[in-house]
Symmetry: C2
């Protein structure tokens, strides 16, 4: 889809297509629709990033809480999340690896009050495990910011899948 | 559900129960979970109201754009909205009344770039029609604020249905 097509969408059409670029937060694309016409993909990315940055800390934590845990059963995941977790090899883990990930994710949620969020498409099972091991001992404010940075990476890849569907998701991930 | 039960919920449980108190905006209850423990219903209402007020104008318009049109087919409505529109008698309209409402809602969306939002439970089909006739000629900034005030009324009634389920929704509406 090219940017002139995007700029011609009604807000209902825009939300149908872009509603989940930030997981379960349609308010974000619904808000930045106010800033049409967009110059291009990077303009949409920048508007979303600026909107997220304008939120109070509670709002940023709210975005994180709208994300699934990496290791929850697939039934509770959006289609986008299933595809992303599959790309990272998370659906191929054996039961021992999954149990470890579950425990670390639970400890992270318990400590911070929001889930561990990472851009699965830009990582492997191994790098996700290492990041989780390290981040579970972090500080809340830092983890809030790290989580939001990951949200923005996930959003960028989802935007690319809409606006540059011919590009391989893996190839896009490598550019981050 | 009493407030001590609410305060003991994990954020996942809180979102399962309160996720749609503002239509399709789970980020809002997810954000105010940061401010637990809550003193009571009015404290939760106030936290949500303050969070909404903290948003830029685009964010307020984003909330409105996450709401359904009054007269759209029921298939696109959340369970909450179906119940609310039924309470206002909107599902009993004849085809002529429905066509008029559809035209006015379309004109409103076209003019403001967000849908006409009104607390259906606090209104009748007639008062909704009169409000729409008047508001469709309003100014964008004023309609944004009016729409947000209606969002807060809808939210208050949804909160009461969770926290005071024994009270009749109609009785609650009369208190507003």
């Amino acid at each position: 889809m090219d940017i002139s097509t995007v700029n011609a969408l009604t807000y209902e059409e825009f939300l149908d297509i872009f509603g989940n670029v930030v997981e379960k937060c349609p308010i974000i694309p619904a808000a930045i629709w106010s800033y049409r016409p967009f110059k291009g993909l990077t303009d949409i990315e920048a508007q979303i990033s600026d909107f997220i940055d304008s939120l109070p800390d509670s709002g940023k934590e709210g975005i994180l809480r709208c994300h699934p845990d990496l290791s929850l059963p697939a039934v509770s995941l959006t289609r986008d999340s299933v595809d992303e977790q599959r790309a990272a090899g998370l659906v191929r883990m054996d039961s021992g690896e999954r149990a470890l990930l579950l425990r670390l994710c639970a400890r992270y949620r318990q400590r911070f009050g929001f889930p561990f969020v990472i851009c699965a498409r830009a990582n492997s099972t191994e790098s996700i495990g290492r990041a989780l091991q390290e981040r579970v001992s972090g500080e809340r404010a830092q983890e809030r910011e790290r989580g939001i940075e990951e949200v923005k990476k996930i959003c960028s890849l989802r935007l690319r899948q809409i606006l540059q569907p011919s590009a391989e998701p893996g190839a896009s991930a490598n550019k981050l």
